[in-house]
């Protein structure tokens, strides 16, 4: 109950700040909350908007799956040996700190101007964090868990399924949450720079037309999606981490 009250207070605060900024900056820079919601309502009624949502969703789901499955698989392989983890961690972190957007032209050259470039760019953002989180989680399994499992004469399969997996789930979920939002970021950046479809493209084309209301409406739509998805994953995380 308290948390609900807190959440509503936060929401009211954000909307109030938004409204005040709107008064200061005016309609050319920032549409008011009410106008934005209204405009979003109108957009939600158009077919074109949903085509763009579908395009972004396709790219995002594909990129998120690559990040998650690829990241967990890579993380498990690298985390199984302490040496490989110690060697790969700084490499992964260095790779991740590259400003990826500067490489986007290369991605476009490799994948062309279509959905595959967006998927690749999204995965470039999400894969490494998931890999690092998974690798760390595997490394941080307390050795006494392995010893306990061994003294109970568990088979290697039972150790993996009943000890290693539940032990790493909370960490992997945290990595998934981070990877999820970064993948979304990657896909949207990809769409904004070079694309003919998708929500990112909608934002850039609206920018060209000076259509602030559309930019704000799409941003609101994406924020609501990202925040609810994050909350859902957090809930899952809490249940698993008990």
């Amino acid at each position: 109950m308290r948390r609900l009250v807190d959440f509503i207070l936060l929401l009211v605060g954000i909307v109030a700040a938004w409204q005040i900024l709107h008064w200061i900056a005016g309609d050319i820079a920032l549409t008011s909350p009410l106008d934005t919601v209204e405009h979003l309502g109108k957009l939600l009624g158009t077919e074109r908007f949903w085509l763009n949502v579908a395009e972004t969703a396709r790219a995002f789901v594909a990129a998120a799956l690559i990040s998650l499955i690829g990241g967990v698989a890579l993380g498990v392989v690298l985390g199984l040996s302490r040496t490989s983890a110690i060697v790969s961690e700084p490499i992964l972190i260095a790779l991740y700190s590259l400003p990826k957007v500067t490489l986007y032209p290369l991605v476009l050259l490799c994948f062309g101007l279509g959905i595959s470039a967006k998927i690749a760019f999204g995965a470039m953002h999400g894969l490494i964090p998931v890999t690092i989180f998974t690798m760390k989680a595997i490394l941080q399994i307390k050795p006494v868990y392995w010893r306990t499992a061994e003294t109970m004469r568990l088979t290697p399969g039972q150790m993996a399924w009943h000890v290693a997996l539940p032990a790493v789930i909370p960490e992997v979920l945290a990595g998934a949450r981070l990877g999820f939002s970064l993948t979304l970021l990657g896909v949207l950046i990809g769409e904004m720079f070079a694309s003919q479809r998708g929500l990112g493209f909608m934002i850039t084309s609206a920018m060209g037309l000076g259509d602030i209301a559309t930019i704000m409406a799409v941003a609101l739509f994406l924020s609501v999606f990202a925040v609810s998805a994050n909350a859902l994953l957090l809930l899952l995380d809490r249940t698993a981490a008990r």
Binding site: K142, V144, Y145, T151, H162
Partner: protein
């Protein structure tokens, strides 16, 4: 009650008792990166008799835990032979249960599921699991916490969970590696009583590794004192306590004599470790 009697320095041979686990000339050398080896343990000779409570004390780093690992089948001896129930130890033997110092309860399972863990993996049928888990949970005083998760329990309670988890597997030899090392003194004494109760009830052979002399003296039938690394037995002290003893034994006049003798031996070894001549 009599105080410590004389035991020979190694391989005490008193009345021909039934040997449950045996170490003969066991050494453990850990390979080092430099190519040399770290001689951690032995040579060790030890007969553990059926149903006895044996404690091992020794200065830190003397190889106590390595000794336990050899008996548990977690680490093969470099030299010598280790047998359990007349079979050479190769991998973890059936009938051996281990409790570690570190909290080994699984945080993702409730107390009840933690206790049932080993039985489930062994494919024991649910009715039998329920019976044994109910018993172990009642025995270790965990009845009110069955549905709790380890994070909600104190360190002492979590160690009870680990003991219960081992107990349900009905081990014939229970190995305990400083199980109360992380607990406060009062809790340790009470846990010691629990352990004695468990030992009497199950009739299992118990080997307890500890660094606390009073714990060793209070709980055991025999206490083996180990030297500084590489650890060997330099003395084995018999306590002659009655089987139905509990922590109140610490006020027995003989108790002081046992701890005094343990400390006399151990002091010399501990000093060696600190690089001081006795």
């Amino acid at each position: 009650m009599t105080a410590a009697s004389d035991g020979a320095a190694s391989g005490v041979e008193i009345a021909p008792r039934d040997v449950h686990a045996q170490l003969r000339g066991v050494t453990r050398v850990f390979p080092l990166a430099s190519g040399a080896g770290l001689h951690a343990l032995g040579p060790i000779d030890l007969d553990l008799y059926h149903g006895e409570f044996f404690a091992v004390v020794g200065p830190s780093g003397c190889g106590k835990s390595t000794l336990l690992d050899v008996l548990a089948g977690l680490s093969p001896p470099t030299d010598g032979t280790a047998t359990f129930e007349d079979k050479p130890i190769d991998g973890v033997p059936d009938g051996v249960g281990v409790v570690f110092q570190e909290d080994a309860s699984f945080p993702w399972l409730t107390v009840r599921d933690n206790v049932a863990f080993g039985l489930r993996r062994a494919g024991v049928d649910e009715a039998e699991i329920k019976k044994r888990v109910d018993y172990a949970i009642g025995f270790m005083g965990l009845r009110d916490f069955e549905r709790a998760y380890p994070a909600q329990l104190s360190g002492g309670m979590r160690q009870r969970v680990c003991i219960a988890r081992t107990l349900v597997l009905q081990p014939r030899l229970i190995l305990l590696d400083e199980p109360f090392g992380a607990l406060d003194q009062q809790t340790r004494l009470l846990m010691g009583d629990e352990l004695l109760r468990l030992w009497r009830e199950t009739g299992a052979t118990v080997l307890l590794i500890t660094h606390a002399l009073d714990e060793a003296a209070m709980l055991s039938d025999r206490v083996g004192v180990m030297s500084a690394r590489p650890g060997r037995f330099i003395d084995i002290v018999e306590t002659h306590w009655p089987r139905d003893r509990d922590s109140r034994i610490v006020s027995d006049p003989g108790f002081g004599a046992v701890t005094a003798r343990l400390w006399e031996k151990l002091r010399v070894e501990s000093l060696k470790l600190m690089g001081t001549r006795p």
